[in-house]
Symmetry: C2
DNA sequence: GGTAAGCGCAACTTTCAGGTTGCACATATC
DNA sequence: GATATGTGCAACCTGAAAGTTGCGCTTACC
């Protein structure tokens, strides 16, 4: 159960299409300043800044100051943690199915 | 980008510790009525009902009526979709790293 | 038939996420 | 030095999520 409490904030950070799009952009390996990440999006720079703050709070991105701009980069380790939860639940389910099948087949 | 819009509601359904706990319980393969799912939790039955409605809206659980009780069961297919998004972003990141390494090593 | 169990629906409150606007501040640029 | 660029911070608005309570309906049980 405490696994649920640990994973929920992570999923919460992933629960917004804008944030997912930001992560997808950053997944190409190139760190970018906020302006570049906000470009093309129908949102204020401030809104994007807030989303990046949420992602950073979840440990999904890293921040670095370079002159007058703030560069954001992906931190894929945390993505793996979200995957781990999904894998566990899926595995438990598959085990349950296997046991059921074995029982039925006698 | 539209992948983000498709995956976000799914992650949103996973963004609550109570809902994750419900899914963990259901992952043992045994469908349960609402009362059984609400048992032990410090929540009203109504609250649990609402959470189950959210999970059902995201396609993560299935509902079935049996007499006076409503039985909920896990639907792991949708979990796989969430995993798929995480895999894609992770893969894109790894590719980017590989290209970078190849470029550096010349 | 009467009673208890299991749910669903609706109204209501409270909290918070997402978004905007306005302003101040530091850093490039000319 | 003057100006434009890139951010950060704070106040504010709005809508929705999470939770509760109350009531009514159906199904099981004796």
């Amino acid at each position: 159960m405490s696994k649920a409490e640990a994973a929920a904030p992570l999923f919460a950070a992933l629960a917004d299409p804008t944030r997912l799009a930001l992560l997808e952009r950053l997944a190409d390996g190139a760190p970018r300043p906020i302006v570049a990440l906000a470009a093309g999006r129908s949102l204020t720079r401030q809104a994007v800044t807030k989303h990046l703050a949420v992602l950073r709070g979840a440990g999904l991105v890293a921040r670095r100051r370079a002159g007058r701009e703030t560069i954001y980069a992906l931190r894929p380790e945390r993505l793996a943690e979200a995957r781990a939860w999904l894998d566990e639940v899926g595995a438990q389910w598959n085990d349950a199915l296997a046991r059921l099948k074995a029982h039925v087949e006698g």
